[in-house]
């Protein structure tokens, strides 16, 4: 699955420029699903990026584990979900020294949460590289009840917490790692536009 090309949007919507090897520097790598292909491409450009890398892979139904393990990262770990990888990832961020590069590849939901963690841990934004691969599903925060609904692929959608029907905005909070969902029938309760698939 190639890199995702997104249509132009507003200035708070994240962009994912892609991964560029920084050589054999300390690195934390988090790949989810088809994001594995971005790490494989990165290592093909410069195999030395793996020398000091701590690579965590969340397969999410995409089986690239054997190929990733063969890259020879200093540390390699497969995790069944982002939640299960979170404490290990936080420890890696806490242990990171100056000059560490963070490589993130996968869905917007994973990248959004992982960037928020990294910024909260004090990593400078310029040390974070991102590449989008795979699903264009969004992680949406309901502005009304504040609950986050994962993997939203349709617009409008039902908030999985409060049940309001929300439309999908492009407005994105890096702190929350989520897009904003706003009640679509606030002015005309019950009158909801036709459901559409989200486009990149």
């Amino acid at each position: 699955m190639p890199r995702t090309e997104f249509s132009p949007s507003i200035t708070s919507r994240p962009v994912y420029p892609g991964l560029t090897p920084q050589g054999a520097t300390p690195a934390i790598m988090l790949a989810e699903g088809p994001g594995a292909e971005a790490i494989l491409d990165l290592a093909a450009l410069d195999a030395s990026v793996m020398d000091l890398a701590h690579l965590i892979y969340i397969p999410a139904g995409h089986d690239a584990g054997l190929r990733l393990a063969a890259l020879g990262a200093k540390m390699y770990r497969e995790a069944p979900s982002y939640a299960s990888a979170l404490e290990r990832y936080r420890k890696a961020l806490a242990d990171a020294r100056m000059g560490t590069t963070l490589y993130l590849a996968g869905s917007e939901g994973m990248i959004g949460q992982a960037v928020a963690e990294a910024l909260a841990a004090g990593l400078p934004p310029e040390a974070i590289q991102t590449e989008h691969r795979g699903t264009i599903a969004r992680r949406m925060q309901c502005v009304h009840c504040k609950g986050v609904t994962e993997n939203v692929t349709i617009d409008p959608f039902l908030c999985s917490h409060c049940g309001l029907t929300l439309f999908v905005r492009d407005h994105f909070s890096r702190r929350l790692g989520a897009f904003q969902g706003v009640c679509v029938d606030a002015e005309t309760p019950g009158i909801v536009p036709e459901v559409q698939e989200i486009k990149p």
Partner: protein, 346 residues
Amino acid sequence: MTIQFHDETFRDDYTFHNSPEGIRRFPFPFDQDSYMYSVNLEPHAGGKAGSPFEKRFDVDEHYVAEMRDRAITLAEDPLRCQSLPHMELAGWDFLELVMVSKSEDYPELFMLNRDGDRWHWINRPLGIEQRFTFLDATTLPCGPMEYITRQTQGDHALLDQRDGNLWMDAGMVTSQADWSLDFDIGMNFFEWHAPVPKAHELGVFQRALKFLLNLQQGAPSRRLNWTMTVNPRLDTSPENYHKWGPEKRTVAPGNVGAKQYLRVELQTLWRLPRSNAIAFPIRCYLCSLEDLVTVPKWGRRLHRVLRDLPDELAEYKGFAVNRPVILDYLAPFDDGAPTSPGIFPD
């Protein structure tokens, strides 16, 4: 000058009202018969006597009721007031600015005695007396920004300056034109303005940021912004949009003059001395159409501005759906006569 503070509400039964003097001093935002975005900044260095521009922090007849409304909103949703950990010093800077300004500008209402870092504050309209130690947050009932903004009309954002940008890292936001502090906190200048249509293409935000990064202490700036609100509601937050949204559809020819309000923000910008942050008060003024048209110049001009506004802006400002009814109401007050320059009544 004695201000008669109104006992009035900004929700439920909406008893908010402007006195005749309140209408005359309303900060009408249009200085000509058309509107487009601009970086309309000017020095906030006083203004016409009696106008909202005269004092550093305008206190008017709605002060006590607005602070009561803020307390209700905060009790329902404490996330309307947030401050990231590095912003406490900016909160003290802002507390000092407001206390000093108000006690000097309204000595009959506010008093501040300072003995070194031992301060004594009296707020007569709200019946508050507080002795505290400046820069010691344990001596106040809450953080310094929350403490002073519970006593200061308008929303307030505190902007940290770093990396050649401004970051909205603290705020008290209970009377907003449909934006969420809880969502936007931590964003930079371009990110929190991202949803505004057209202005990015016009380069408005690049120019405004450049200006603000160079804002100097003691030389505050101001600008007016505006939108439209149905009913005199301060809390038009996205959080509660599903609660106030239905009210927007209750506007009809028979009630539009009373229900439709022009909502004006007097935005001021202040460089803070210790933190180098910028304080950004966003003061909201409300005036119904039927009160506005009592000033003939405003009736004529508002009709022309709203009639000629691009659809995209009417949509963004949230009144596109009611524009025909509003224009039908205003049209009889526009006799086609020329209007004088500037915002003030003739």
